[in-house]
């Protein structure tokens, strides 16, 4: 055997480990790396521009003075002063309003704190087409067309109907939207008795320009209670001039806070095409309460019919056993976009038709990663929901999925997934699909999708990221009939790996 390094080198040299790289990976990584490099450069450039905006301009001024005649110097100096005043002067709210409302789409995550409860809504604004869409925490969908149609659409999953009404001709018309937020601020800011404070501030690690106003008796109410004081703080990116966040506080008598809202704003390239894209069933009843006009109305009213099976519409609470919590409260991982705010208090009961049970218990599980790093795939449905070591299966990095075969078709009303609740992590690109096709090539229903940038390549999602807790994530699946359940994820805030402690699927046999 070897006596020294020479012999070991010979030994290793004969190992013949296959280490030839794949050209596809090389090229893909090259693109990713250069994109990361450019993104890092833009980020660094933005901060350095904010720090020293006028240095090069001053040099330009000096050179101009040295090289030009007096009249030219005067002209140049005026010109430079004019440029500086426009581009490097303090950002005005008018500029913010213009820059924000010229974007094709605005997406906002709005978290409202009211009466001890927290709810998080999402809304999309299309300033071009004058449309807003709001997806509320309880699954209701509100759509306002404040352009030519002047209609408001409200869908309630509880009522299982969509109401169509006319928008009020004046005043607040109900849709919480960035349109009204920005315009309301502008209206108040123009009033003689309102002062707008402007300052530079830090928000989510970036320097922002903050605009703040304080308005007494703004003439609005919160659930019937008059707001006596409204405080609005809007924050804008000084580079893009666009709104990035807002804090709204509505106070009642004696300074009691009636409601508080926190807005996080982004600008996607596209938004929902219509209310159906947000999950309104195409078969839903439409109740049109608008005044009928001569000609063909845009939406034909349909009569409300009696449900065919009244017995099946009765819902009962389904008991979900929870594992013990590993941490108190829900600390939020920072810098996760589209992150749902934690709910205060326990989750409301999950309602489903009588006879609904966990039909996934003990059912077989397959995965895109057939060789988990830790644990085995049967842990996904073994009933052990605790966060201890030995209770979870760890799958490889990147996009991975597990598929549960329910072994026959069920009406699936909901499912609960626990990825890993030892720490308050957020798992990325969580996508949940139901199908009767084991390969998920046909008849696939997506019931949850937080992949907002479509990095998983399945479709762009509109659900919020959420923080793992011992409650798991309850997903309403609305009675979809399916045999197979597939859950995707693509790493988490702690590492690039994917974990499952347990998945419960609540359903009953297809009738």
């Amino acid at each position: 055997m070897f006596q020294d390094e020479h012999n070991l080198r010979k030994a290793i040299g004969g190992m013949n480990i296959d280490a030839e790289p794949r050209s596809a990976h090389r090229e893909q990584l090259r693109r990713q790396m250069l994109a990361t490099f450019e993104a890092a450069g833009r980020s660094a450039g933005a901060s350095s521009r904010a720090a020293a905006p006028s240095r090069t301009r001053l040099v330009s001024i000096t050179l101009a003075k040295l090289g030009a005649a007096a009249v030219v110097v005067i002209s140049a100096a005026w010109g430079v002063h004019h440029v500086l005043r426009i581009s490097a002067g303090p950002l005005t709210f008018d500029q913010v309003q213009q820059a924000t409302q010229k974007m094709a789409w605005l997406h906002a995550v709005v978290t409202e704190y009211r009466d001890g409860a927290v709810r998080t809504d999402q809304q999309w604004d299309s300033f071009d087409t004058k449309k807003t869409y709001t997806l509320t925490a309880d699954g209701s969908i509100l759509h306002a067309d404040y352009g030519s149609a002047q209609r408001k659409f409200f869908y309630s999953p509880q009522v299982k109907a969509m109401m169509v009404t006319e928008l009020p001709r004046r005043g607040v018309w109900g849709a919480r939207s960035a349109h009204t937020l920005v315009d309301t601020f502008a209206v108040f800011a123009d009033q003689d008795d309102v002062m707008v404070d402007e300052s530079s501030d830090q928000y989510a690690g970036q320097t922002v320009r903050a605009f703040e106003l304080d308005r007494s008796d703004p003439g609005i109410k919160v659930k019937g209670r008059a707001v006596t004081r409204l405080r609005m703080r809007l924050m804008a990116d000084p580079d893009t001039r666009r709104l990035v966040a807002a804090h709204i506080e509505k106070q009642g008598p004696r300074g009691a806070v009636l409601a508080r809202e926190e807005w996080v704003v982004s600008y996607p390239q596209s938004g929902p095409e219509d209310v159906y894209a947000l999950g309104v069933p195409r078969s839903v009843r439409v109740i049109d309460q608008t005044a009928q006009v001569i000609g063909t109305p845009s939406v034909q009213p349909r009569p409300i019919s009696t449900p065919g099976d009244t017995g099946r519409s009765r819902l009962v609470p389904v008991k979900i056993e929870l594992p013990k919590a590993f941490f108190i409260g829900t600390p939020q991982p920072s810098r996760v976009p589209n992150l749902a705010r934690p709910r205060r208090g326990p989750r409301p009961p999950f309602l489903a038709p009588p006879g609904t049970t966990n039909v996934a218990a003990g059912k077989p599980v397959t995965s895109s990663d057939s060789e988990p790093f830790i644990g085995t795939l049967d842990m996904v449905t073994d009933g052990d929901k605790e966060a201890d070591d030995g209770s979870f299966v760890e799958l490889g990095p990147g996009l991975q999925h597990v598929t549960i075969d329910l072994q026959k078709r069920y009406e699936v009303y909901g499912l609960v997934v626990w990825h890993h609740h030892r720490q308050p992590r957020v798992y990325f690109d969580v996508i949940v699909q139901l199908s009767n096709d084991p390969d998920f090539e046909r008849g696939v229903t997506t019931v949850f999708n937080s992949d907002t940038d479509n990095s998983a390549g399945l479709e762009e999602g509109r659900d919020l990221h959420y923080t793992e807790t011992n409650e798991g994530k309850l997903i309403n699946t609305k009675g979809v009939a399916a045999r197979y359940v597939r859950l995707y994820s693509q790493g988490n805030t702690s590492d690039e790996l994917n974990h499952y402690i347990e998945v419960e699927v609540y359903g009953r046999p297809v009738r």
Partner: protein
């Protein structure tokens, strides 16, 4: 006396790569295969090695503008440090590598029944013996014997004095020999 800094034709490229994507792409072409092979030799699995290689270059891309080094030697030490750290972090976090190693050992043994053609150098036993070392020690072996680096360069990557690397390697070789002697029933 400190070893003089080695000059290479790519020193300027390193400086340019802090601001120019084209220069960074050329550095990538120079180092992609080296880092990938290093990862394969550390992890014994090409798919995992691709993942770690991706992590290494994305880290480099994100931090290149802040990289303080000015020579290719600096860059090489930096990128191998990142690779070694990421590979070691991966190994600590997973139990898969152990299984992969066991698979490699089993496959090799199945392919070499009876009297091994390597009667003097038993590969499965060597894999096995390397796998029993600490991740940092495996890194030392990989850098020395797969990447052909000298003690100074390994020392820079691992932030350990070259003399310590020399002693560590000596002890590792002895440990490997002992491990192999046990594995082969004292036939050493």
């Amino acid at each position: 006396m400190a070893k003089p800094v080695e000059q290479t034709p790519y020193d300027d490229l390193v400086v340019q790569a802090k601001t120019e994507a084209g220069a960074l792409a050329r550095l990538y072409d120079l180092y992609y295969e080296r880092i990938f092979k290093f990862c394969v030799h550390r992890l014994y699995n090409k798919t995992t090695a691709e993942d770690i290689t991706s992590g290494v270059f994305l880290t480099v891309a994100g931090s290149m503008r802040d990289f303080k080094g000015r020579t290719e030697q600096d860059f090489r030490a930096w990128i191998y440090t990142i690779a070694a750290n990421q590979a070691n972090a991966y190994i600590r976090k997973t139990s898969r590598r152990k299984r992969l190693m066991e698979n490699v050992v089993a496959t090799r043994r199945a392919a070499e029944p009876g009297v091994s053609p390597w009667s003097q150098l038993d590969w499965p036993a060597l894999y096995d013996a390397i796998g029993k070392l600490k991740p940092e020690h495996q890194t030392v072996l990989t850098l020395r014997f797969f990447e052909d680096m000298d003690y100074d360069e390994i020392g820079r990557i691992m932030d350990i004095k070259p003399g310590t690397i020399r002693v560590t390697l000596h002890r590792l070789l002895r440990k490997l020999k002992e491990g192999l002697r046990d594995d082969l029933g004292g036939d050493l």
